[in-house]
């Protein structure tokens, strides 16, 4: 099956085409990806770049089975361009589509880059959380906590399999917002609420690991210093500061195999409600 993913939710536009087997879906996966830094808007180049990716992969758009997009939170305009395109591709090709939450993509990306390390921790009885945080402007961050776990594998292959066991990441917390300056404090509070009793144990074992990723760490260097105070084993996943559409596609593949290709009405996902000032 062929999946086309567009991520235009940050200043780095990323487009990827992933081809994979229908059975072992992450096995023999081939990906053609392209990343492009924006100078002005994406509207000018997005079709030509999509064409380039498809051409490189020697796939015609008519052969695409699944269209997916980062549905935010992210830059308003960029995200909307991506959604508008993907929705309409799916409509005109009469194929299913998926809108994936931005934080799921960052977390998947971080898990991929650190799969070996995470699996080693888990098999040693330790725990690992992945915490993507993104800069949503006005000195606010949007973050979420995922915990990694291993299951007896059956379908998955490639990087995420260890001794026949498969690495999964589960969202354990709802999203939350905090000031960038107080990120660490709000993070700890939030973490406490979520993990309750487990928190002490989690933080007692300093070898339990935290993987941080997302644009917040590109925008606010100061957060890293705060993390050091946690006296905890932590990693800032440099390879997952900006989202890469390859991992958007992988998130979509997981969804595809979990839920089937349900007809989905993609809705943008915003970090906060928009409330205009009322004119008198």
């Amino acid at each position: 099956m062929h999946i086309l993913g567009i991520d235009s939710s940050t200043e780095k536009l990323s487009i990827a085409l992933t081809s994979c087997s229908e059975v072992h879906y992450l096995k023999n996966m081939r990906t053609y990806a392209l990343q492009y830094s924006r100078h002005s808007g994406f509207m000018k180049s997005i079709i030509a770049l999509t064409d380039k990716v498809l051409e490189k992969a020697a796939i015609d758009i008519e052969e695409i089975d699944y269209f997916c997009v980062n549905r935010g939170p992210g830059d308003f305009t960029g995200t909307r361009i991506g959604i508008s395109l993907i929705k309409t591709f799916a409509l005109s090709q009469n194929k299913p589509s998926a809108g994936i939450d931005a934080l799921d993509i960052y977390a998947m990306q971080a898990a991929y880059y650190n799969a070996a390390k995470i699996m080693q921790l888990l098999s040693g009885g330790l725990r690992a959380c992945i915490v993507p945080a993104i800069d949503i402007k006005r000195d606010e961050l949007f973050f979420c906590i995922y915990e990694a776990s291993l299951y007896e594998g059956h379908k998955c292959a490639g990087k995420l399999v260890y001794k026949n066991r498969e690495l999964f990441i589960n969202k354990i917390g709802n999203d939350s917002i905090s000031g960038a300056g107080t990120f660490i404090d709000s993070f700890k509070e939030y973490f406490k609420d979520l993990l309750g009793e487990h928190l002490r144990e989690y933080f007692e074992k300093q070898n339990n690991a935290l993987f941080f990723c997302g644009t917040a760490f590109a925008s606010y260097g100061s957060i890293a210093a705060g993390l050091r105070e946690l006296k905890h084993k932590f990693f800032i996943v440099k390879k997952s500061l900006y989202p890469d559409a390859q991992y958007l596609n992988i998130c979509a593949i997981y969804r595809f195999y979990k839920n089937g290709a349900a007809i989905e009405r993609i809705m943008p996902y915003y970090a906060r409600e928009f409330t205009p000032f009322k004119k008198k």
Binding site: M43, K44, I47, I83
Partner: protein, 351 residues
Amino acid sequence: MQGNLPLLKKNNLKNQEKILILGIETSCDDTCASVVEDGKVILSNVIASQHEIHGKYGGVVPELASRRHVEAIDIIINEALLQAKIKMSQISAVSVSNRPGLIGSLLVGVGAAKAISYSKKIPFMAVNHLKAHLFSNFLEVPEMGPCFTGLIVSGGHTSLYSVGQNWEIKEVGHTVDDAAGEAFDKIARFLGLGYPGGPVIDRLASKGNPSRFEMPRPMIESGDLNFSFSGLKTALIYKTKKEPKILDENNIADLVASFQDAIVDVLVHKTFKACRQSGFEKILVSGGVAANSRLRSMFAQKADSEGIKLYIPPIKLCMDNAAMVACLGYYDYIAGNFSDLSVEVYSRSDI
């Protein structure tokens, strides 16, 4: 031919008897899609209005408009195809407004149109929203030729155009401040009548006496073909401050009728003046305010007495709609005037 079309190599112009254009319009606060056959037969004309959302704020909130567009765009396009009983694969080409308008709104429609053009390998025409308003008249009267005077009067624009022998379009006048529709909307907001103001005032004014209150006719003797409507709003507000009782239930209809009459009077005066100056015999009017019943009857009366042929589209085609975009796109299509898939969107643009 316009544009170098790197992707045209893949475009196969369909050798069809009938040319079916899918039009998309998202320049302001309405999400619209339409299928038009041969530039004149409207097979569908779907409009998802956002008036309720913006009504609360007394005017269009751009960020909210973009949010609604992106939620609705695929559904509206699909609805236009369903109503037309046409499959996407039967469409000959796609046409979309890419200027002028709200950037965030335009991007949604243009993104969708590019996606269709690229994935169905059909030509793509990015058109001017104002020019599309003028062309809304061609849906009804496709055989119409040049030359004529065009008035576009809407919530965002009030401009006069002269369209010459070779279809060259020249702007000969425009508002120096508010658009006429904006004046309607602002007065309605001031009087607490709701949004959009035009239709409410139109209804209320039909029960009023337009000569009861004296209102200025801004710039009517200015010598040029420009308009100004913000002073009229100030005059009305000033009047109500001086005599609050004119806001009473028995007076308000007369008040808005007098206000509406002043706007219509200036529009009639300048449009016919432009037509006379150019030596033309035809006038085309379009845009949201062309839905106004007083405007329609006053223009018709004047056209009658001056021996000018007047064209105003039916009310649904006066408002923002995608049928006019498909219609204009049709003329670009048959002329081979395709756009490149790299076109961008513009908040401002000459016609």
